[in-house]
């Protein structure tokens, strides 16, 4: 097991290096620089700025300087926000993005699993069709549509919830959580339904029913656990998707998470910020994939031998 983890971490290094290199080359080859503004500054000033940020050195020198800096865990200063370092921005923004993603994940699980299970109990009835069509809608409806609609209904018409903010006024975390989590809740509902249908048609369930167990015991004790295994495998990629996808929700609801900085950085040509956040997210996704692989291997000993083959 430990060997497996070591191997995977070792494999992650070239992937990360590849991401760094590609991102570095791409941001530098985009036209326009961090100091280009609507009104041109005198060339002398731009020259001084480039010197200050080491942008006048040959690109490969900059690249290796950057790698050296990275090796010390330093993402450098932000170009757009000169009095803040990229590390600091990640440090303040990421916990918020993570919190949002976790809430959305919990929402998705606690809404998706019961709905999916309920649908599977009476397949091809209204109890199945209604939630499944609603969930199809949930999958298709992007958060930049769902968010404003929820805001309109709960924030402006009924004045029940704040329309923006995060931890500023009571209840302001509800709408972003629901907006971000809905799509995943819908996925989970459909996955649960599929898994449950398969399990419910198995012989041992029929045996359990034949023995006269009541419906509750059959479903909760015997069917649900194996039925939601596919959901567990889905969680790894889902959390990565939630983290990466939170920027839309952060923009709609004015949440000071990392996703918003990420998007703004690209528009601002904030080189260090783009690189820093990309590398950070890439590392995070690698980590989550590793964790979900480890869990899978742990659940299924057959896989343990696979890497050494």
């Amino acid at each position: 097991m430990i060997k497996f983890i070591f191997l995977r971490v070792f494999q992650a290094i070239p992937v990360l290096l590849f991401v760094i290199t590609i991102t570095f080359v791409m941001v530098r080859s985009a036209p326009g620089g961090p100091f280009d503004e609507d009104r041109a500054a005198p060339p002398e000033v731009i020259k001084n700025l480039n010197e200050k940020y080491n942008l006048d050195a040959p690109i490969y020198v900059q690249y290796f300087d950057y790698l050296k800096q990275l090796a010390q865990g330093d993402f450098g200063p932000s170009f757009k926000y000169p009095n803040r370092s990229v590390n600091e921005m990640i440090y303040t923004g990421f916990p918020i993005t993570l919190e949002l993603a976790l809430y959305a994940m919990l929402f998705a699980i606690f809404v998706g699993v019961p709905i999916g299970a309920a649908a599977a109990l009476k397949p091809n009835s209204i109890q199945d069709y209604l939630p499944m069509s609603v969930s199809m809608l949930g999958i298709c409806l992007p958060s930049f549509v769902l968010g404003p609609v929820l805001v309109l209904i709960f924030g402006i018409w009924f004045e029940l919830l704040p329309v923006s903010g995060w931890g500023v006024s009571a209840g302001d975390k509800i709408l972003p959580t629901v907006t971000l989590g809905s799509t995943y809740a819908a996925y989970i509902a459909r996955i649960t339904r599929g898994g449950m249908l398969e399990v419910l048609s198995m012989d041992y369930i029929r045996t359990a029913r034949a023995k006269g167990l009541n419906a509750y015991n059959v479903v909760i004790k015997h069917a649900l656990r194996p039925g939601i295994t596919p959901v567990v495998t889905f969680l790894g990629p889902a959390i990565a998707g939630l983290l990466g996808g939170s920027f839309v929700v952060e923009t709609i609801f004015q949440i000071p998470g990392l996703g918003r900085f990420y998007i703004q950085a690209a528009f601002n040509r904030d080189y260090t910020m783009i690189l820093g956040t990309t590398i950070f997210f890439a590392a995070l996704i690698l980590l989550f994939n590793l964790i979900s692989d480890v869990i899978l291997v742990w659940l299924n000993p057959k896989l343990r031998k696979a890497p050494s083959n």
Binding site: A30, P31, G32, G33, F35, D36, E37, D38, R39, A40, A41, P42, P43, E44, V45, N48, L49, K52, P77, K80, Y81, P82, N83, R84, M89, T92, G93, V111, I115, P148, V151, L152, F154, G155, I156, E159, L160, P162, V163, S164, G165, W166, V168, S169, A170, G171, I174, V178, T251, I252, F253, Q254, P256, G257, R260, F261, Q264, F267, N268, R269
Partner: protein, 532 residues
């Protein structure tokens, strides 16, 4: 699921007071402020977002009366100007203070402007200080001794300034952020005089001299300021706090306004303007603004080097149709570069809207009824609004001149780069004035000017701008500017389209607002009416 959610919500259904209502009671203004401020160091920032905050936490030697935009005393209580217009002597207020209680003295301005000009600081707005004697040389490292620059502290309360040449708008410049003072001890506690981006502007470190001081700054969340008790005119400040909310999405901002989270918005979604004007006219403000929307023509391209073609393009644009049916928020059709009525200056020369003449000119240039006219392209930065205007113009050129135009959009920084390297034929452009004088628009098109970007060069034009700078009287300057506008109208390196408007939503409780072309609302004149 929805039912369940409603149930939970119903349990906590008691309506709390909105931030606006609480703000009205406690004198806290909530203002939408566009994007996250890059920094608030007045010598390294360039944007309006930052300036809106700098206005609260800094103050220059002078400021402007928000009604008339006339210059009024601020840190300086009075000043004298020598007869040749080259020497200004400012008397600093005895009771001028920094937000930590330190006395604000003439030397602070000498230090601040030195900092603004330090080459290594990389101040992108350093050029606005260039009117001071030797400032440009110092900034470009041609001289290194700051005592040669025309700024001297005679004593604690007397500041003497010598200019390169007579500059009619010099006092206007003093209200620009690049001329704001900074606190030497604070700057030097966190770095050298020319260190960029040190932490001196953090809330816990900051010392300023405006009516407000920084309370809290959490990126992408809030920038809040609180009353500065040491401010010399504190007795006349009504607000206790101002909270600047960085909301880059204008639709989100409008929702926050409707939900009682903002007193004032930075902008209004275009599609909502008409609705507000019809249903809640008292809550929306739409005013002409000190900016011009225009198209640049690349006069170095073989096709557009022919002035007849440039004129034909301009004369076939129906500006009124664009402002009435496309932009639709009260923009004023523009036929010359400078917005109307800048301190008594309204340009006389105009480009025309004359489809017949446009056709004749194009035929004259060798393209009768658009025959053999090469395909040209309009470049704009990606945005729905610019696209709509470009589509309208494309249509007008097709109908009147029978020529085919393609549209090309680029992301902002790419577009800037394309425009700067003049890799375009026709490009959407705009200019917002820096100070209240026609010069802020007209000096853009001098030969090889940093923001010319059309390749257009006219020696007479260059001379007029230089003459205007040195002119003895306002009338004389304006005659030069009139002639400069005439040259632009005759040579058409640019096609003016409209004068901008600014749009805001304001709650009824916000008092003391003034309509003016700079959209200038100093916070010390604003107040909040208590809830009934």
């Amino acid at each position: 699921m929805v039912a369940g959610l409603l149930l939970i919500l119903g349990a906590c259904g008691e309506k709390a007071k909105t931030p606006v209502e609480i703000g009205n009671e406690q004198g806290i203004l909530h203002k939408g402020n566009g994007t996250e401020p890059a920094d608030i160091d007045p010598h390294t920032t360039t944007g309006m977002t930052e300036y809106h905050i700098q206005m609260a936490v800094f103050e220059g030697l002078v400021s402007k009366n928000p009604k008339t935009l006339e210059i009024i005393p601020a840190v300086a209580e009075s000043w004298t100007i020598s007869d040749d217009g080259l020497r200004y002597t400012f008397k600093i207020r005895e009771n001028a203070r920094w937000s930590n209680g330190d006395k604000l003295v003439a030397h602070d301005f000498v230090y601040s402007w030195k900092r603004a000009l330090m080459p290594a600081l990389g101040n992108q707005y350093a050029y606005s200080v260039y009117v001071i004697k030797n400032a440009e040389k110092f900034n470009k490292n041609e001289i290194t001794d700051f005592s040669e620059v025309g700024v001297k502290a005679i004593d604690d309360l007397t500041l003497a300034i010598e200019l390169e040449h007579r500059t009619a708008y010099f006092l206007q410049l003093l209200d620009h952020h690049s001329m704001f003072p900074v606190h030497q001890k604070t700057i030097e506690k966190f770095g050298k005089i020319d260190d960029r981006g040190t932490s001196w502007t953090r809330a816990e470190n900051f010392v300023g001299n405006g009516p407000f001081s920084i309370k809290e700054w959490v990126p992408n969340k809030i920038f809040s300021t609180t009353r500065n008790p040491h401010y010399w005119d504190n007795d006349n400040v009504s607000l206790n706090e101002i909270h600047f909310h960085p909301v880059e999405n204008v639709v989100t901002e409008e929702r926050m306004f409707r939900a009682g989270q903002l007193h004032a918005t930075n902008d209004v979604p275009l599609e909502k303007v008409a609705k507000y004007q019809a249903n809640q006219p008292e809550r929306i403000s739409v005013n002409p603004y000190f900016g011009t929307y225009f198209y640049r023509l690349n006069t170095t391209s073989p096709l557009l080097s022919d002035v007849r073609v440039r004129k034909a393009l301009s004369y076939s644009i129906d500006r009124d149709a664009i402002t009435q049916y496309v932009t639709k928020t009260g923009e004023i059709s523009a036929y010359n570069l400078t917005p109307p009525k800048i301190r008594g200056f309204t340009a006389q020369a105009k480009q025309l809207f004359d489809p017949k003449e446009a056709k004749r000119l194009l035929a004259d240039a060798g393209y009768p009824n658009g025959e053999n006219f090469p395909a040209i392209e309009i470049l704009y930065n990606t945005s729905e609004a610019h696209k709509k205007i470009a589509l309208a113009i494309q249509q007008m050129w097709k109908t009147t001149l029978n020529i085919d135009i393609t549209l090309h959009n680029q992301e902002w920084k790419v577009y800037l780069d394309t425009q700067r390297t003049m890799n375009y034929q026709v490009t959407r452009s705009s200019w917002i004035g820096d100070y209240l004088d026609p010069n802020t628009f007209l000096d853009m098109f001098v030969t090889d000017g940093g923001n010319n970007n059309t390749g257009w060069s006219n020696l007479r034009y260059d001379k007029l701008i230089r003459l205007a700078a040195k002119a003895d009287s306002q009338e004389e300057r304006y005659t030069y500017f009139q002639e400069a506008e005439k040259l632009l109208a005759e040579e058409v390196p640019i096609i003016p389209i409209y004068t901008y408007t600014v749009r805001h939503l304001y709650t009824d409780s916000l008092q003391g607002l003034n309509d003016n072309i700079l959209d200038y609302q100093p916070y010390k004149y604003l107040s909040l009416k208590k809830n009934k």
